[in-house]
């Protein structure tokens, strides 16, 4: 399998096989817009299932419960406050988590005892927590603040590193796309949004850029001398770079996603609700989305931004005109075409002797 895969990688690298990703950029923009709209619709329709940290309330955890059914919890809650509905979830192997609206100190004690009886455990096995309603707001405010600061710093750093704004802006747009889609899909899955999942969303910021930086590094390398020659357009050189990094993107993403997937698996099937599952799900969605966006969104966007500059537009027109003139319609761009002049071997036509006058002369004394 690896042999075929590396052959695939070779062909993509040399340009023998090539996906026209940049050329179909309008298609990708449409898909990306569709995804964003879909995510926003999911967000609006289903809403975020906010965890107790954001709602405020009381939470009880029964360890070593004899049953993990939810009815005993509801009955226990009814004995304290008949008007409330308990949110019951299974945590770990045999622990039950019961969330209620905020209860007073007396009610909390009563609820603890009732739960202990209901699940046949000692009262010390029932732990209670209280979360104030403003706690989650603080987390959210900090998260948003962090987001804005991060975006500003990173845009500047990327602009400095790539020495062009078009790359920084394209990476930023791709990043926002990833964030919206991740949050939307997370809402769609319907897991609770806890501080742990917020951590996941924020980590996606770093990961999305990581992928994009790797791709853009190759794009920059391929297009460094693109204006000095007239065989390939900027879009073609950029497309080759994307194709050359596809294998690398697939490999880094698979390797990045494997541990996250194993956390998600363990979290979802063995542990139930909790920190591990929430972080893992947001990371899992986010990593896949950001890998795709680094290939299908960031680079096409970068090309679009780049081609707004007159120099690149004129260059593209020149190359296409030249190609039309030579009637060489079927062109394959290979890795040789994007090498710098110094690296390229260009002796495609044999030379002829031009006579003795062409030879270097010895200086007369």
């Amino acid at each position: 399998m690896a042999g075929k895969f590396s052959q695939f990688g070779n062909d993509l690298y040399s340009g023998k096989r090539s996906f026209d990703i940049i050329g179909h950029r309008r298609r990708w923009y449409l898909i990306a817009c569709g995804l964003v709209v879909f995510s926003l619709a999911l967000l609006l329709a289903r809403g975020l299932n906010l965890g107790i940290e954001f709602r405020g309330g009381s939470e009880f955890t029964v360890s070593g419960a004899s049953t993990t059914a939810s009815e005993p919890a509801q009955e226990a809650l009814n004995s304290v406050d008949a008007n409330q509905v308990a949110r019951v979830s299974v945590v770990g192997g045999n622990s039950v988590r019961v969330q209620t609206e905020a209860l007073g100190a007396d009610d909390t004690e009563a609820m603890r005892d009732a739960l202990a009886v209901a699940y046949g455990v000692d009262a010390t096995q029932v732990t209670s927590s209280f979360v104030g309603p403003s706690w989650g707001q603080d987390v959210t405010a900090k998260a948003l603040q962090g987001l804005v600061i991060f975006l500003v710093i990173v845009t500047v750093v990327m602009a400095l590193y790539f020495r062009t704004w078009s790359m920084a802006i394209a990476a930023l747009v791709a990043l926002l796309h990833d964030l919206v889609v991740t949050v939307g899909l997370y809402a769609g899955v319907g897991f609770e949004v806890t501080p742990a999942s917020v951590i996941g969303f924020l980590t996606i910021l770093g990961y999305s850029l990581y992928d994009t930086v790797v791709v853009f590094d190759k794009v920059r390398e391929n297009t460094a001398h693109v204006l000095d020659q007239s065989r390939v357009t900027y879009a073609e050189a950029s497309n080759l770079a994307v194709n050359q990094t596809i294998v690398r993107s697939i490999n880094t993403s698979v390797v990045g996603i494997l541990p996250v997937a194993s956390i998600l698996f363990v979290g979802a099937f063995l542990l139930g609700a909790g920190t591990l599952r929430d972080i893992a799900l947001s990371l899992f969605i986010g990593m896949i989305v950001s890998t795709l966006s680094s290939i299908f969104l960031a680079s096409p966007l970068e090309t679009t931004f780049r081609l707004r500059r007159p120099a690149y537009r004129e260059h593209t027109a020149k190359v296409l005109a030249r190609r039309a003139a030579s009637a060489d319609a079927d062109v394959t761009i290979t890795s040789d075409d994007v090498r710098s002049e110094a690296d390229r071997v260009t002796a495609l036509l044999p030379g002829g002797h031009q006579g003795q006058a062409a030879q270097p002369k010895r200086k007369k004394r």
């Binding site: 955890t61 403003s134 900090k142 501080p195 990581y210 956390i263």
Partner: protein, 685 residues
């Protein structure tokens, strides 16, 4: 070509680093030394893994004033005093996000402790009625202490409460100060009884709590009722549980309390000023009588207008007294005396300064600390409970175990995938991951020892996620090497050239990750912080490992025959990577694509020097061997080459231009023609 020892130098540095980290921890464990945490070969666990109670408090002012980070630190100091005093071991109190205070207490916590922690802290100023050393009454010295009001005269020279230690220490003959050493020999009952006898001045067997005469002012000794005396005599300020603070003192009644550091105890009159009367306090330098600034640190107080009036009255009254402690007033923060300066003169303008005792002046740090405490007291601060969480230890253990399981599965999958994709290079990935894991674990041990770092569940998750992100940089590096091989470089050149390119990419992407981690960490609330921390840590370790381990290891491995020779299973086989050979063959001749393919199939990755050496060796062997076998086995030794040759021939190019007779290194008996060095092979650029 760099010598092996130069290449290996980073590896030595890395080994030294590992030995230093684990050696330090080992020495720490052996000597049992403890920094903030305890040296151990297992990292300290946070509450969510260990079980316990976590309170998140937000200090708020009732007047809506802003709270500075100094105030938050002061609030933490006060909460710490309360928690430590209540006998809770290993409570961890930290500020988070600059505004919240997180109190993490292992084990179960009862409601009284919670109430104690969340109480608001008040500052009052009270006149000192009685001051003495910290111990209880000595039943044996009962006679001497029958008149407790006489004792404090021993502290006649006390100028500020902070110097009470020095005074009490030298005052060996004063009865009250001897108690700390004597106390253990008496039971609480004996002390109570002695105190009762001493306090019951009128001998009626009942402790009255009404002043004998109506007090004329706050400094009147009539405030010291029998009950107050009893409390005072029983109080043992050497015990931390008596210095918990958090006492919401009655402003109109006298107060029996300890100094914050437990070096003396006091009977204080009713409160005369509260924290709100103080406008601000700051550290300054004393001015000499000529108005010159000296280098003696002092604390300058500024009162509000109302406070200034009250303070003027108090200072006028106190300065009229000549014998300490009657001319002292105590500043009580959270029910404990933080300072009890002597009043030298009336202060009418609301601008006061507290200087240290003449014998033992303030240091800069002491003055700053007192000023911070005063500023904190000037705020009417309450603590709002944001969340109170009990975490069961069994649940935490389960989560940790499952987390480790997830990590193990993830690690195995990553290793399996990298073997599948990179064949022999998978070994490099595994070795690098092992080194990264060892480094990370060591750094966490050191941090949990010296900085009190605790590993939380989000932290563990961060570590697991980091496996993938760390392996990413190896992949970036390997793919770069492969790219260079595809471009037609020799393997050793590809390793060097690929590194210079990969390094830039790795640096840039790690920088992005690191910025993310720092921003998350600085603004973090709750569990985000643990995650951000491990993420940042592993990013740095990733860089260290790639620079000091992976790259040097590649340089060493490329010298081996397996990797350097581009063995089929090494993951660096130029043939399967479709390496291309330069189109220009030299001497004005250009290779056709078919020729180039053939050249690749025959790729000789040796350098010119190696080729010469091999040729010489082959020549020597040939001379030594029987001369008759020289023609045997030249073309059949490499089936690939033959196949490629045939391909070249069938494509209709001149077979002579392909290098079909390039000998394999092992083929005996053939002396390569010198022109072999002119062949522009994959490795010749």
């Amino acid at each position: 070509m760099a010598r092996r020892s130069t290449i290996a130098r980073p590896l030595y540095v890395l080994a030294l680093l590992l030995v230093a980290i684990y050696g330090a921890v080992g020495i720490g464990v052996a000597t049992g030394s403890s920094g903030v945490g305890k040296a151990s070969f297992t990292p300290a666990l946070a509450l969510d893994l260990e079980g316990g109670t976590q309170l998140i408090l937000t200090p708020r002012t009732t007047t809506g004033e802003d709270i500075t980070s100094d105030d938050v630190n002061q609030a933490i100091a006060i909460i710490r005093q309360r928690v430590d005093g209540s006998g809770v071991a290993e409570a961890e109190i930290t500020s988070q996000g600059g505004q919240n205070i997180v109190v993490a207490i292992p084990g179960e916590v009862d409601d009284t402790t919670v109430d104690l922690i969340t109480q608001s802290a008040q500052m009052r100023m009270r006149a000192v009625l009685i001051e003495s050393g910290p111990g209880t009454i000595d039943p044996a010295a009962l006679e001497a202490s029958e008149d407790p009001t006489a004792d404090p005269s021993a502290d006649a020279t006390a100028e500020a409460g902070t110097d009470a230690t020095a005074e009490a220490g030298t005052d060996a003959t004063a009865d009250a100060t001897e108690e700390p050493t004597a106390t253990p020999t008496y039971t609480q009952d004996q002390i109570d009884e002695a105190a009762f006898t001493a306090a019951d001045a009128d001998g009626d067997g009942v402790l009255s709590n009404t002043p004998a005469t109506t007090p004329t002012d706050a400094s009147d000794q009539a405030w010291v009722t029998e009950q107050v005396t009893y409390d005072y005599l029983r109080l043992d300020c050497t015990l931390p549980e008596n210095r918990i603070g958090g006492i919401d003192d009655d402003v109109d009644a006298p107060l029996v309390t300890c100094s914050q550091d437990g070096t003396s105890k006091y009977v204080l009159g009713p409160a005369e000023l509260t924290g709100q009367d103080l406008s601000s306090a700051q550290m300054g330098y004393k001015q000499s009588s000529t108005g010159m600034q000296t280098n003696q640190p002092i604390v300058q107080l500024t009162f509000t207008d109302e406070g200034a009036t009250k303070f003027a009255t108090v200072t006028t009254r106190l300065s009229a007294q000549t014998t300490p402690p009657a001319n002292q007033f105590a500043i009580v923060l959270d029910g404990l005396v933080i300072s009890a300066p002597t009043v030298n003169e009336p202060i009418p303008n609301g601008m006061a300064e507290i200087s240290g005792p003449t014998t033992n002046p303030f240091t800069r740090a002491e003055a700053t600390s007192l000023a911070n405490q005063l500023n904190f007291g000037a705020l009417p601060l309450t603590f709002e409970v944001q969340s109170q969480e009990q975490i069961s230890a069994t649940l935490g253990t389960e989560q940790l175990q499952r987390g480790m399981l997830a990590g193990a599965i993830g690690l195995i999958l990553v290793v399996a995938y990298s073997f599948l994709q990179y064949r022999g290079l998978g070994i490099v990935t595994v070795a690098s991951l092992v080194i990264a894991a060892a480094l990370t674990y060591g750094v966490i041990l050191v941090l949990s020892w010296t900085q009190g770092y605790r590993l939380s569940l989000p932290g563990v998750t961060g570590l697991i996620v980091a496996i993938g992100i760390t392996a990413d940089s190896f992949i970036v590096y390997f793919e770069r090497i492969r790219d260079e091989v595809r471009e037609g470089r020799s393997l050793s050149a590809a390793v060097e050239h690929g590194w210079t390119r990969a390094r830039r990419t790795i640096l840039a992407s790690d920088a992005v990750n690191f910025i993310a981690a720092i921003v998350l960490y600085l603004l973090a609330v709750g569990g985000v912080r643990g995650f951000a921390f491990t993420l940042g840590l592993t990013t740095i370790i990733d860089l260290v490992v790639v620079m000091l381990f992976t790259h040097p290891l590649m340089r060493l491995l490329i010298k081996t025959r397996f990797f350097g020779g581009g063995h089929k299973w090494s993951g660096l086989d130029p043939v399967s990577l479709g390496a291309s050979v330069a189109a220009y063959a030299g001497r004005g001749r250009v290779r056709t694509p078919v020729e180039r393919k053939a050249a690749v199939a025959n790729a000789d990755t040796r350098t010119i020097a190696q080729r010469k050496a091999d040729a010489e060796r082959a020549a020597r062997e040939a001379a030594a061997a029987d001369a008759t076998s020289t023609v045997a086995g030249t073309t059949a030794s490499d089936p690939d080459a033959t196949a490629a040759d045939q391909g070249a021939t069938s494509a209709g190019t001149e077979p002579a231009t392909a290098p079909p007779t390039e000998p394999s290194t092992k083929a005996p008996g053939v002396v390569p023609v010198p022109s072999a060095t002119d062949e522009p092979e994959g490795g010749s650029r």
